[in-house]
Symmetry: C3
Subunit: 412 residues, 3 copies
């Protein structure tokens, strides 16, 4: 997917969703230009075929075919000769990182421009240039895709990722790849929750989905925005607006249990599409899972966020964390101890390991005692995992054993 | 005001209030000796004209005319000859700071005494001394002053300072000077709150005011006792008994936003007149603002708390903090986002700075997003400033912009 | 008591309770084997007279008469000759501490065994051994003792200690000795609460008591499990399941006020009999007081937990802490300030020390002001001691003075 020139509308998004469809069952929706969506309007559709700046010798000194980042995303068409002075206000570079091409967009103010490395910019001499962008900005559609995996309940878990960035890898391809694989893996088992995977352009895509699904959005009981999940940094989680939602606690438990290094930060109303899901009129329990957060790595929004920047082990690790979060959400619940007075005699039931040996025997026994002690109908397994500081998987396993021995019942 | 011999009653207070009246509109009240006020009784009025200890050569070895601190405040009259041995129990000095005269009082136990530097005390030889205090303790009045600046609401903000200390500068003149200037500045604009400035003797003055205004006291929605605001130390704030009153949070925000160095401490029932305002029968939301707290600088209650000890820049800084607190109280409020579903499109409304440039553009945009996101009618701007960690002035400014663009409404 | 071979049933417990009865008024109960108690069943009674391993020369190489720890507690009888290979699975030692005999039990799985120092184990050569345990495991009783000291209220304070460990000193004799002495001291004064001291075998003893007293257990308003109170370490307290019970706060205040070094840890459902008292069906406010917690000193459950390991000063200090906790529980209460508007004039009532002198005058005055300020009927003296950071005894003393001067009333 890396070479595709994606934007918030157009064939780049369609081609991307088509590739995802090869892996998972994706429902594609198209919303016409001009449709009112909440406070916004679906913009004209943008498509681009070629773009360059040619010098007086006829050489393409800036060439869209080498990198789709070279064109200011959503540039209007242009086909003119001009001096360097006239061209200059339309050129963008990063003096601090002179070899990298910046990524810039202008979705809602019609203009055109080129992005190039600062080294290339400095090489441009005073002469007449041929400036050409073969793009169209015209009535069309905004495109997004959804994969829904039905569980036994209509309550939903949302995973949302953006699909609008062109040749950038951590910032958006990593999210797409995690979401796609996660959807495949989740579909392999019967699930309690219904899982919705949303692949949509940033901001306007989430707004479109929310506008079309105002009622259905209330079914979302837990959600994660997936972004920047492929770099070599530690995990980071940004809490939902609620701050104490189950998703916030589930991710925190998974990171506490399994991550070497992680950071959890409070909600703030800027970032990715959690901005929309957590707007006060929806206030959905949706957080954001990343490795190094956007804006905290210098490669962000430059040509250096490329295939080398993303690491297969990091992607795999991010995927495992997402799966572990799903297991917490699926496995959580409140139970009632059926023999709440005193401890039940675990030894008689073979629940106490006789005389040591197992490395994890102590954790198993502690987990049994914690679940018995806390299961008064008020505490969820997540509560118990937090309070006991034992791993959620140990608590979940203890609950399964105790239920099998008829010592606890699920609370209604 | 420095040379005036103030006490809890008498002409020293009257002369002080007369000087304040030159600057602001002050209503002076007089309450007769013997008046029952809560659990207390207004004491006899004390006035003093002269006092000295004369040695056998007729020299004034301790002389009220050199410093009014030399007399134990509220000393009964005396005119006798006595030996050093007989005089000794009536002499007070500070061995630790041998050049400083201590400040001592005996309001409610009739006695007399002299305070002097330890060096002077040690110079006294065995001989007969003429001991003379030309004071009167007689039925009279207790005097206090109030300046009230009416706002659109009857809800009041109280600023209270004590006016009973003689030639001490940080401990009480600093508070008087801040309160007077603040009253002048507040009066220059239309205000939402009514502001009450109380200039009264410590303890008994606050008790008198509360006794005379039991009903009106309930109108006080926020208040500050001002004391020790002129020294070179950092700001300090002592919370009200409630501990989470708006005044506690407003001062904390101002110090967080604007102070280099500050300390916030919990309420305790000793200190200045917050003792009375925060007694359980009133429990008013009144904290105390100081720089170095009383008792935490060695010059406290000695002749070294003089005009040099107080610093003009520190006074100005304290005044600015008080004004900033007033701006938080005036500017706070709860708002409702009128487009709460998704983010409103700020760019369309010119609320997003196009392409960078302004140093504070990022803070402005973040403030807009925070106010929009949190304005569900439950969060005040103070809440939002706390949660976002943005400056209150930025949050307040964002609310003003958003209201002007009809994006938020004041909550009822 | 040290040489007695105690277990969860049998004559060792009876002999121990008989010794306690010499000091305090103890009611002994016997519950027959086979009685259903909550989820458990009272086991067969175990008694032992002799046990040894004799080598081919007829020498007792392991001898119960030298230490009762040599026998796996609750061993079934055995009288056989066998090779070292056959004997080996029945031998237990501590390679890490080669001079110490471990303490091991097998209450609910019938087997037999010997515990010995690792050095002794290594000396055993291949030969035929005579293995003899003269024990009986037969229908009988489980025995426990209670000492109840009636107060003016039926509300109870429980002190519970286990009496089932053989020659171990810190782990269980320390608790027995503290509980016995505490009962004697508490009985010397009229008390508000009724005090119950329970001397019972660990786990099954607490379960038996709870089974027999399901209703009465609800009268327990505060409780402590006493264990490991004689070693030289600092105090440690493990909170009740509730975590914010008065007993949790009372112990915390006593340790804050009086202990040089202490640790307070959260509840967990393993440890001593707090496991049973804090099971969810009872959820009693019972914490555990120890010095070094069980399992945190290497001597734990070995022959090195002997009379030398326990220190008289530490025992005395633990006792004083228990008494101080009792004083907090007895002395706590909520009061109402009868002159809540402003401060009452303490000087007039002689409650203000005139002019300094007493070392603790400042603390006394602060305590008076805190009690007056906080006594609005909502705050207990414990609340006030916590908030003021003054010692509970100072707060309690101030309340007594203020009540004597008719300034506060006990709240209903």
């Amino acid at each position: 997917m890396y070479p595709i020139c994606r934007s918030i509308t157009g064939n780049g998004v369609r081609d991307t969703l088509a590739l995802i469809s090869a892996d998972i069952d994706l429902k594609i929706s198209e919303v016409p230009t001009g449709t009112k969506v909440l406070d916004w309007t679906v913009p004209k559709e943008w498509n681009i075929r070629d773009a360059y700046i040619r010098n007086s010798k006829g050489e393409r000194v800036v060439d869209f075919r080498r990198s789709n980042l070279h064109v200011l995303n959503y540039s209007a068409p242009v086909d003119r000769r001009m001096s360097l002075g006239e061209l200059q206000p339309h050129l963008f570079s990063l003096p601090k990182f002179p070899d990298w091409i910046p990524y810039k967009t202008s979705y809602y103010r019609e203009t055109w421009g080129f992005c190039l490395s600062h080294r290339d910019l400095e090489r441009l001499t005073e002469q007449e240039y041929e400036v050409f962008i073969d793009s169209t900005l015209a009535d069309g559609h905004l495109t997004f895709g959804e994969c829904v995996i039905r569980g036994s309940s209509q309550d939903e878990v949302l995973f949302s990722c953006h699909v609008c960035h062109p040749s950038l890898c951590n910032d958006n391809l990593s999210g797409i790849s995690i979401a796609t694989t996660l959807a495949r893996l989740i579909a392999q088992e019967k699930r309690r929750y219904t899982y919705r995977f949303l692949f949509a352009p940033g901001t306007i895509g989430a707004i479109v989905w929310l506008a079309l699904n105002e009622q259905r959005a209330q079914r979302i009981k837990h959600g994660l925005v997936l972004a920047c999940l492929g770099d070599r940094g530690g995990m980071s989680y940004k809490k939902s607006r609620k701050g104490i939602a189950d998703i916030d606690r589930a991710v925190a438990i998974v990171l506490r249990d399994d991550a070497d290094q992680f950071e959890i930060s409070e909600f703030s109303p800027y970032g990715y599409d959690e901005r929309q899901y957590c707007s006060p009129g929806f206030d959905l329990p949706v957080g954001r899972l990343s490795r190094t957060p956007h804006g905290c790595f210098p490669e962000y929004h430059t040509s250096a966020d490329n295939l080398e920047f993303v690491d297969a082990d990091s992607l795999a690790d991010s995927l495992m964390k997402c799966l572990a979060v799903v297991e917490v959400l699926e496995g959580d619940g409140r139970y009632v101890n059926k023999l709440p007075k005193g401890e039940p005699q675990l030894g008689r039931r073979g629940l106490y390991s006789d005389m040591g040996g197992y490395a994890d025997a102590r954790e198993r026994e502690e987990a049994l005692l914690w679940v018995l002690n806390m299961s008064d109908g008020n505490n969820s397994l997540l509560d118990i995992a937090e309070r006991s500081r034992l791993r959620f998987t140990a608590i979940r396993g203890a609950a399964t054993s105790l239920a099998a021995h008829d010592l606890i019942d699920q609370a209604l």
